[in-house]
């Protein structure tokens, strides 16, 4: 792999002010807390975690769609956090996003052609109508959309088709980085496979870097090179996907993995680790391990000391008592 990473995320935190009116104070939601990782060109990093783990917020923060509270984001060596939105605009060509709800992510009043060409209008204002139409046609063809769909509206499509339109819109400006925020979780399982295969294909063909966000580990398994597990905005475990899948070290990862349904009815199949309780409020600031309240392996130390990421068995784990 090349020496300089495409994207370096360094101790990024995203906090929101939430609630608060005249009577009650404003509370601070710590959606993402000190997350660091690097993404190499052509690599796929999957970010997993349950709802509220901050994975979507992290993705949006990387694209500067939500303000970064602390930390830095270096894209090809340039810190994105210090850029203004105007300075950010030309860089957006390189980093495009695919959204969770395929139909809701398409403007309902615009035709497929207008939707797909919008990024071109922003980033290549010199192209004339015919050149834009040409690019749209090429991209639609590459994504497997029929030319006669150009003049239709988003609501006329199924979820899978709409997601293809969303992918076409992201790819028309030939980005280097594609951020996919739960791109298949709103789709039928049969369609999920199609869209995942499509993503894998384009990733190969265009040596795209992919940031793949999901809560579904069985989906992630097929696409990732590396895997990052988030819990309450904290990284719990990060490393090569295969290593983590076969030997998860963090109890939270183990719980997530054991929740994946499998066709294994043998007597020595892994025991299901069940988590009890709900996700603690994201407004709390954690002194200890954020997972301590639900961890089957928690000790006194866990609620007083926050574990840091330490290399264990070929990946990094934030846990005082790692082990499989």
């Amino acid at each position: 792999m090349s020496a300089e990473p495409l994207l370096t995320v360094d101790r990024v935190s995203v906090h929101f002010r939430a609630g608060g009116n005249l009577l009650t104070g404003v509370s601070l939601v710590r959606a993402v807390e000190g997350v660091s990782f690097t993404l190499q060109q052509g690599e796929t990093l999957s970010i997993v975690g349950e709802s509220g783990s901050g994975k979507s917020t992290l993705a949006r923060a990387i694209l500067r769609l939500v303000p970064v509270t602390k930390g830095s984001l270096h894209y090809r060596g340039e810190n994105l956090v210090t850029l203004s939105q105007d300075q950010m605009r030309p860089r957006r060509r390189m980093m495009q996003m695919v959204f969770q709800d395929p139909i809701a992510s398409l403007s309902p009043r615009r035709t497929v052609e207008q939707i797909i060409e919008e990024p071109l209008r922003v980033h290549f204002p010199d192209l004339d109508r015919a050149e834009r139409a040409q690019r749209v046609a090429e991209t639609m063809d590459a994504i497997g959309l029929l030319p006669d769909m150009r003049n239709r509206y988003p609501h006329e499509f199924s979820g899978g088709q709409a997601q293809r339109i969303g992918i076409a819109r992201a790819l028309i400006v030939e980005p280097e980085l594609l951020v996919a925020d739960e791109p298949v979780s709103a789709l039928d399982v049969s369609i999920q496979a199609q869209v995942l295969n499509l993503l894998a294909e384009i990733k190969q063909a265009r040596s795209l870097s992919l940031l793949f966000i999901s809560h579904d580990l069985s989906v992630v398994q097929h696409v990732s090179d590396n895997l990052m597990v988030l819990y309450l905005g904290h990284v719990m475990e990060v490393g090569p996907a295969g290593t983590i899948y076969s030997r998860p070290q963090n109890p939270y990862t183990q719980a997530l993995l054991s929740a994946v349904p499998r066709m294994d009815f043998s007597a020595d199949r892994p025991k299901r680790t069940r988590l009890t309780g709900d996700l603690p409020s994201p407004t709390l600031e954690h002194v200890g391990c954020p997972f301590a309240s639900r961890c089957p392996r928690a000790q006194a130390l866990c609620s007083t000391d926050k574990p840091v990421l330490t290399p264990v068995d070929g990946r990094e784990v934030a846990c005082h008592f790692p082990g499989s």
Binding site: R93, Q100, S105, P108, R109, P119, N151, R169
Partner: protein
């Protein structure tokens, strides 16, 4: 509509679409609107009514009765008499109801037009600014609206008319200034729900400027709603005007409006029902045409509801 018919319509639309050089949304909306026979019918009826109101003086010439003329032979309300050319009868003062209805429609339409325009302009800008700004600005703007909402229209009308004198323009403006509140709320709600929509985020993610987001993604998605509320506000404005007229706050004699004519007729509905028929029928037709037009426009602007 039958399935076959629907397919034909789709095919016709597709054909229309491919022949058009630039297929703007508005052109598509017009194409769709023209296919809607009820809406086209309603707009023709509306055009005729507008023409009648604009050319109301012609009726004075046709019947030979000026608007204020009090026919001594037809005092205290006489039924329609075709020989005397009182086609819809006369009122208590012997004035011709047909002529007065045409002039009344004129006033009602002017009120509707001015008040609805005021409501539309103020309502959309206020609502869109409040919704887009969000946060504290939004809260303050909405509380101001709540405050205004708590003032009763009649009270404002009485005070304003006492202060500025009885002038029909004051009535127009007051109604407009009151009616925009609903529009502002509705538009704000729309903008709020749009602001966090994924397609708006998608536009931001790709680098579309805020102005582009407003023009290309937000405005097209609120026009449908704005038009529908406009067609709801217009009938309401006409009714509010007639209510003010009933209280003696609206148009002053000898001028009249549909609402005033109807309330005069309603007082004598058992003895002299024809006094209500003429203006009543015109009011009903006017309101229905506006409603059908509104429906048609909404369908045309919102392909989702097809």
């Amino acid at each position: 509509m039958s399935l076959l018919n629907r397919t034909n319509n789709e095919a016709a639309l597709e054909a229309a679409v491919t022949t058009l050089q630039s297929r703007s949304l508005t052109q598509l909306a017009i194409t769709r609107f023209l296919r809607n026979r009820v809406a086209v019918g309603a707009s023709i009826v509306l055009l005729i009514l507008v023409a009648l109101a604009v050319f109301a003086p012609v009726f004075e010439l046709l019947t030979g009765y000026p608007m204020e003329f009090q026919d001594r032979d037809f005092y205290s309300g006489k039924p329609p008499n075709w020989e005397a050319q009182h086609y819809l009868g006369t009122d208590y003062n012997g004035r011709d109801i047909l002529v007065r209805t045409m002039f009344g429609m004129r006033i009602s339409m002017m009120v509707a037009l001015v008040a609805a325009t005021v409501a539309l302009v103020i309502g959309i800008s206020y609502g869109a600014i409040s919704g887009l700004a969000g946060g504290m600005v939004d809260t303050i703007m909405m509380r101001i609206l709540d405050l205004l909402y708590s003032f009763p229209l009649t009270l404002i009308a009485v005070i304003a008319l006492a202060y500025f004198g009885r002038n029909i323009m004051i009535v127009f403006v007051i109604i407009g200034l009151v009616e925009w509140q609903l529009m502002a709320r509705v538009i704000r709600g729309q903008v709020l729900s749009l602001r966090n929509a994924e397609f708006i985020e998608a536009a931001r993610a790709t680098g579309v400027r805020p102005f582009g987001i407003l023009v290309r993604h937000i405005v097209p998605n609120v026009t449908g709603v704005a038009i529908v509320y406009m067609t709801l506000i217009i009938p309401e404005v006409i009714l509010v005007e007639s209510f003010l007229g009933y209280l003696g706050l609206g148009v002053q004699e000898p001028d009249t409006s549909l609402g005033v004519l109807i309330s005069e007729g309603a007082n004598a509905i058992e003895q002299k029902p024809w006094m209500t028929y003429g203006p009543g029928i015109f009011l009903v037709v006017l309101l229905m045409a506006l409603n059908f037009l509104g429906d048609g426009l909404r369908d045309a602007f919102d392909p989702k509801d097809r």
